[in-house]
């Protein structure tokens, strides 16, 4: 944590920007979980002293500009290809900390092959996967994770699984790969879950540092703008509607990962 700020003697420091983050406003809509997860990533990078070792891989999606918010080297991948870029980076820079940050369109549709193969190779990278059941950036089209019956701009009558297929459960799939060391699905929509989510991100990052294998933290998120809800409503909706289809929990945790002190 940044300790250089001068704090008056009669006051206590309770909140500040992590060193790993830039002091700026984000472009995210009010109430969007992207902002919360960025903050958690920043805190974990600080706590593990990773800032100077890190190379982040940005996705295409609402978080395409993630690099503006981190004091960290970054590359901007093509839509879905972040795990491949991360692979190239990690293989040639094994001493660096490489993470991707991806949405559900990015990771679970166009980039399905790249994430599964990165996981299966046990690529020593960490992925933060924001599942908001929609394509935020392009204006609210159906995502691979859009729930059955859910209305989007490209499923105006609600997702008909007979036509569009079923919402894909990526954590369950990634957990099947031999190379994955730590796969978990968390939520980013209430304080308890957010605390737990931060621990999961830390465990995922430590998994890479200790060389234990591929790690991915899926975050059940929200998109108030394209869900046509206010932030509070969207948080509740995420919890009540998404969690039954996408059960929270750890889908894979190797013994060595379990033994990590988080």
């Amino acid at each position: 944590m940044n300790t250089t700020t001068q704090i008056p003697e009669n006051m206590e420091l309770v909140y500040q920007y992590p060193d790993s983050m830039t002091k700026t406003y984000t472009h995210y809509c009010p109430g969007c979980v992207h902002g919360i997860v960025h903050r958690l990533v920043g805190e974990v990078l600080d706590e593990l002293d990773l800032r100077e070792k890190s190379i982040g891989v940005a996705p295409v999606g609402c978080s395409v500009l993630i690099y503006n918010y981190f004091n960290v080297d970054f590359v901007e991948a093509a839509h879905g290809r972040a795990p491949a870029m991360a692979t190239g980076l990690k293989r040639t820079n094994p001493d660096k900390f490489i993470f991707t940050y991806q949405g559900d369109g990015d990771l679970a549709a166009i980039g399905t092959a790249e994430i599964i193969h990165a996981a299966n190779r046990g690529e020593l990278i960490s992925t933060v996967f924001i599942n908001n059941a929609i394509y935020g950036m392009t204006g609210g089209q159906m995502a691979p994770t859009t729930l059955p019956g859910m209305k989007t701009t490209s499923s105006p009558g609600g997702r008909d699984c007979k036509i569009a297929g079923y919402p894909i459960k990526m954590s369950e799939i990634l957990a099947q790969t031999e190379g994955a060391a730590y796969i978990t699905r968390e939520a980013g929509t209430d304080i308890r879950s957010i605390r737990k989510l931060k621990k999961a991100i830390k465990r995922a990052f430590l998994t890479q540092i200790e060389g234990l294998g591929f790690s991915c933290v899926e975050v059940l998120a929200n998109c108030p703008t394209n869900w046509n809800m206010d932030p509070w409503e969207s948080m509740l909706w995420s919890k009540e509607q998404m969690t039954p289809y996408f059960p929270l929990g750890t889908y894979k945790m190797r013994e060595e990962v379990k033994a990590l002190k988080v």
């Binding site: 800032r51 100077e52 070792k53 890190s54 190379i55 891989v57 940005a58 395409v64 690099y67 981190f70 004091n71 960290v72 080297d73 970054f74 590359v75 901007e76 991948a77 093509a78 290809r81 491949a84 870029m85 991360a86 692979t87 190239g88 980076l89 293989r91 040639t92 820079n93 660096k96 092959a113 790249e114 193969h117």
Partner: protein
Amino acid sequence: MTKELLKGNVAFAEAAVRNGLQAYFGYPITPQSEALEHFSGRMIELDRVFLQAESEVAAINMVYGAASSGVRVMTSTSGPGLALMAEGLSYIAGSEIPVVVVNMMRGGPGLGNIQPSQADYNFMTKSAGHGNFHPLVLAPANIQEIIDMVGLAFELAEKYRTLVMIAGDGSIGQMMEAAELPPMQEISTARPAWAVTGAVGRAPNLITSLYLGAEKLEKVNIRLQQKLATIEENEIRWQEYETEDAELLLVAYGTVGRICISVLRAARQQGLKVGLLRPQTLWPFPTARINELAAQMQGVLVAEMSAGQMLVDVEHAVAGKTPVRFYGRMGGVIPMSAEILEAVKQVQEEVS
């Protein structure tokens, strides 16, 4: 150093290894798979990075990632694989990082076949991806030349921070010839200042092709075009054969360029004053030199293993100074020198 008998694919792969290649990512495809196989042994043995990707899409993006950190990296493929790489090629061009890609052209369209072809000329020189850019494209005609061009490709890619492609074809990949490999070069551990290597004691570096403001992106485009103009000024390469007194000019590159040397000899024996210009860079193209030579010619014959792709660039270069004719074979057929000689004679008859 002495010459050894080398297969084209193995030759360029080993040349890359000796030129200090730090990482190779690729996906098998005929007629270049021997290169990937060679890398798989050599790179691992030398404790460098080799990875067989799940697709050419992944391979080029792995290359993009590695290149972003400033290491010497390459991939190789053939038509159908190059099509999948087009996305990555454009991002690489847009973010101005040095990458080398070898394309051993095969017959198309579609799955086509695995015979030699030159039908990716337009793909490579004109539209290797979306947006405004040209890769620098080198065209070897024999094994020694592809070996030498690998070193040159890295040099140019790094000098200009640009995408360099080597346009081979199935026959250059598959044939064996005596050639000399370069000496083993040390791997460079230095990383350029623009590379992502962890922000230690400096502001964070960013490798991106994203510029949201139209005017910002236009500026980037203008800078890119200026760079391409500099490349065009300095890096055009070609070889001429007996052009001094020639009255009929052959223009051909790669395998066909090589065949045309035999055509030229046979034509000269029959008293025909034929010369040959063999482009060694397809982009930038030897436009000015062809234009200059056109003035002394009664005609120009372009020969290609395609429907006539370079032909358009030659016509543009000749600019109406003299008639331009074309002889091409397609679908993986290699033209025999006798066929091209026949075409030379026809042009000769037509123009005299």
